[in-house]
């Protein structure tokens, strides 16, 4: 042991260490050409038409473009289409395309690619179809695409801008399938701002800027998506400088980012929310409106926001129209305040006395804690529940007899949607029962009519008036409690400029982002 520390050895070790620092340091310098490293969980479904989560969208959005896209403020912006017109009857949408766009393989982009893409979405039953509804698509010339709808759909543009509606090359049957040798990335052929150059499933994806991008080459030299599944480890990676940007940071981890130098917390309001819902069909407690109302009076939403989101969420009404939908949100609606005595009265009137049951929740986000706090609030309001917190995969699995759709009383998580209409159409109309979205089996003829009316109303003011009526229905007889709309947190290195984290962070626009040394 003693010989290990002879002066000569110390000098040698010191020299080696210095060499390592120089070599390692130059490695860091080499990256300063402007490669943004983004930490996220690993993507699994790569097919543009079928993918769903943030890392999958992030990879796809970097490689491909949309016809039109959802901007961070939930409005629709131009992308491969420069302009669009809607016919007076609302049934024909005509898009004018850019004529200066090429795919990564050098071939020119034209209307045929758009037609192929949208027909393929229908063919593979992409989730985008639930937003577009039925349509026919045709291309009168190389720079024009026409969609014809069988019925008015005021949210059709959100369907055209759906996350899965990325424009692929005409005739591409295997988009995003890894090939062999020189052809490894041949099927990752988009028009987008970045070109995929390396992909190690579960580890990382490396992309370089597309110098021929129609919107001008991105400010960044490249992107590197580093796949880290554990959210705490993602924060560690940001703090240690291993990555420059992370999103979906758990609220409890934001303090660590705030306390550290050189990194900052990002916060974006979203329409993401938990729904606490009662089944309203025959034989379930929620069939009686008084029971639904009792649960609302038994719930202190302000306290839930305070305890679970440290007061940083937004308390809305007990309906899916979130405050982030700006003028669609009606702040004059007076919701039930916490009133345990009133809840007890209502349950008494309904002939139940004390509600005994089980509250089911998925083991995701803060929902286990949410269930624990609800149990306490409700205990003071004649509602006694046991809690069953089930792993997310089991909770949403139909082979489990107590899955999210079957149980009488449950919590489900609803991700951000750019428009309230999408939520209403999925979860609160009769057709939603068959698709597994209308868990409460809430069928209300008046609401049904309003939802149809809203879908045919393109005037925002008229639509806001319809949504105000919708809020009123939920207030009076809705089967759901929405305690808050959760904000989205992220973390970013202070070297990064021009980055905006949208409510769906997989759609972060990297084209305008730059990074300094």
């Amino acid at each position: 042991m003693a010989s290990l520390f002879t002066p000569r050895r110390i000098v040698m070790v010191g020299a080696l260490l210095m060499l390592a620092v120089v070599v390692g340091g130059s490695g860091v310098l080499a990256q300063e050409g402007g490669v943004l490293r983004v930490g996220m969980t690993a993507p699994t479904v790569l097919d543009p038409a079928q993918h769903s989560n943030d890392p999958e969208t992030a990879l796809n959005r970097a490689i491909y473009d949309y016809l039109v896209e959802v901007l961070p403020d939930a409005t629709i912006g131009a992308n491969l289409a420069t302009a669009w017109t809607i016919s007076d009857d609302g049934l024909t949408y005509t898009f004018t395309l850019r004529d200066d766009v090429t795919f990564h393989d050098g071939s020119a982009f034209s209307s045929a690619d758009v037609v192929y893409t949208f027909n393929r979405l229908k063919e593979v039953e992409s989730p985008a179809i639930s937003l577009t509804g039925d349509f026919e698509v045709s291309a009168p010339d190389a720079t024009t695409v026409v969609f014809t709808l069988p019925a008015v759909n005021a949210d059709f543009l959100y369907g055209v801008a759906a996350r899965q509606a990325l424009i692929i090359k005409d005739g591409e049957t295997e988009p995003n399938v890894l090939g062999e040798g020189d052809m490894t990335f041949a099927h990752f052929n988009g028009t987008g701002p970045f070109i995929l150059t390396q992909f190690d499933p579960g580890a990382r994806a490396v992309l370089t800027a597309n110098a021929n991008y129609w919107g001008g080459a991105p400010a960044l030299a490249g992107l590197e998506f580093v796949y880290i599944d554990d959210t705490v480890a993602q924060v560690d990676a940001l703090l240690s400088g291993e990555v420059d940007y992370i999103f979906k940071v758990p609220i409890a981890q934001t303090d660590r980012i705030e306390a550290a130098d050189g990194v900052s917390v990002l916060q974006t309001a979203t329409s993401q929310h938990p729904v606490i819902r009662l089944r309203t069909d025959e034989g379930f407690a929620g069939a009686d409106v008084r029971v639904r109302q009792a649960f609302k009076y038994a719930t202190d939403r302000e306290q839930l926001n305070e305890l679970l989101l440290q007061g940083r969420g937004t308390v809305g009404n007990n309906d899916p129209i979130a405050p982030v939908f700006s003028f669609f949100f009606d702040e004059t609606v007076e919701n039930q305040t916490y009133d345990p005595a009133r809840a007890c009265e209502l349950l008494e009137e309904a002939g139940i006395g004390t509600y005994e049951g089980t509250l089911y929740a998925p083991d995701a986000f803060e929902y286990a804690d949410l269930a624990a706090v609800l149990q306490q609030q409700w205990a003071a309001a004649c509602i006694n529940v046991d809690i069953q917190v089930v792993p997310e995969g089991v909770y949403y699995d139909f082979s489990n007899p107590n899955n999210y759709f079957e149980v009488e009383l449950g919590i489900t998580g609803w991700g951000d949607r750019p428009s309230p209409q999408i939520l209403l159409r999925q979860a609160y109309i009769e057709a939603g029962i068959e698709t597994g979205f209308n868990e409460s089996r809430f069928v209300d003829p008046e609401l049904e009519a309003l939802v149809v009316q809203a879908s045919q109303t393109t005037n925002d003011e008229e639509r806001a008036a319809i949504y105000a009526q919708v809020s009123q229905i939920f207030l009076e007889r809705g089967p759901i409690i929405i305690p808050y709309f959760a904000p989205l947190f992220g973390g970013v290195s202070d070297n990064v400029q021009g980055l905006t984290m949208p409510p769906f962070p997989g759609l972060t626009d990297f084209r305008t982002v730059s990074i300094s040394g």
Partner: protein, 282 residues
């Protein structure tokens, strides 16, 4: 007779300092399991208004968690589950394992071959993964945990008992009992069982410590006792995400699990020395 043996066993244990420490630790935790809920200043699920994320103080010895629940009270309440569940699973596995082990050890032959192979195949699957799959299917509940752990540990106990039974089967006193015309049950329980008892006691102690660990692990993975019950494993998992804000909510349940397992292991180590038994399976 039994009382005398137990007393002499305890006396032997106190002679070795490590075993004495183990006994004290386990003893304290058993007391907590019985009286913990009485001593605790708050209920385990009580949300103290305006006290969320308070560091340890005179008022809240171990601080409060992100929802404002007293961590000290939760640890105390949680002692019951972490002791009771593994105790039940250990007792059941030992009963079933002993019965099976004695039978196949004594009779041998085809019966032994068939049952041993079935048990071997059960043992070949990693315990935690099997537990995850089974609890994922039947849904997490205390009864589910008991069923799963008993199913996992019975073959291990049976194997130990079987090999011990094989050793005594061919000894003279068994032959003598057979010649006396004793019934099989008598031979199994009065002649063979005492011979394998030392191995069994050590094995039971070992199973107990593994059962604690497995119960806590399942709790950590969200497949244990349901919230808001203060399962130590679940508490560690819940506190893990908010470690930056409420580190104490992570420290104390973790320390409690570690201390209890150390105590049980010291104790089972002491037992092993007394019986000079060297067997045991991971």
């Amino acid at each position: 007779m039994v009382l005398q043996n137990t007393l002499s066993l305890l006396r032997q244990l106190t002679r070795r300092p490590q075993s004495l420490i183990g006994m004290v630790i386990v003893g304290v935790f058993i007391l907590l399991a019985v009286f913990g809920s009485e001593i605790a200043p708050y209920r385990f699920d009580e949300l103290i208004r305006g006290a969320a994320r308070t560091p340890p103080s005179e008022l809240y010895l171990f601080g409060t968690d992100t929802l404002g629940r007293d961590v000290f009270s939760r640890v105390l309440w949680g002692a019951r589950d972490i002791i009771v569940l593994p105790t039940i699973t250990t007792v059941l596995s030992v009963i079933f394992g002993t019965a099976i082990g004695l039978l196949i050890g004594y009779y041998g032959g085809v019966l032994d071959d068939v049952i041993s192979r079935i048990m071997d195949s059960l043992l070949a699957i990693p315990a935690l993964i099997l537990a995850l799959v089974m609890l994922g299917t039947i849904g997490p509940s205390p009864v589910g945990i008991i069923i799963v752990i008993v199913l996992l540990y019975t073959p291990i106990v049976a194997r130990v008992v079987r090999s011990a039974a094989l050793n005594v089967r061919s000894t003279g006193y068994i032959e003598a009992a057979k010649l006396r015309g004793e019934s099989t049950l008598y031979i199994l329980f009065r002649e063979i069982l005492p011979g394998v008892l030392p191995a069994l006691i050590v094995e039971a102690a070992l199973r107990f410590s593994y059962a604690i660990f497995l119960t806590a692990s399942l709790g950590f993975l969200g497949l244990g006792v349901q919230p808001p019950s203060p399962d130590w494993g679940r508490m560690v998992n819940e506190a893990r995400n908010s470690y930056a804000q409420t580190p104490w909510a992570l420290w104390f349940p973790s320390a409690a699990i570690a201390l209890l397992i150390i105590g049980v292991n010291l104790l089972s180590d002491g037992l092993r020395r007394i019986f000079r038994y060297e067997g045991g399976l991971g």
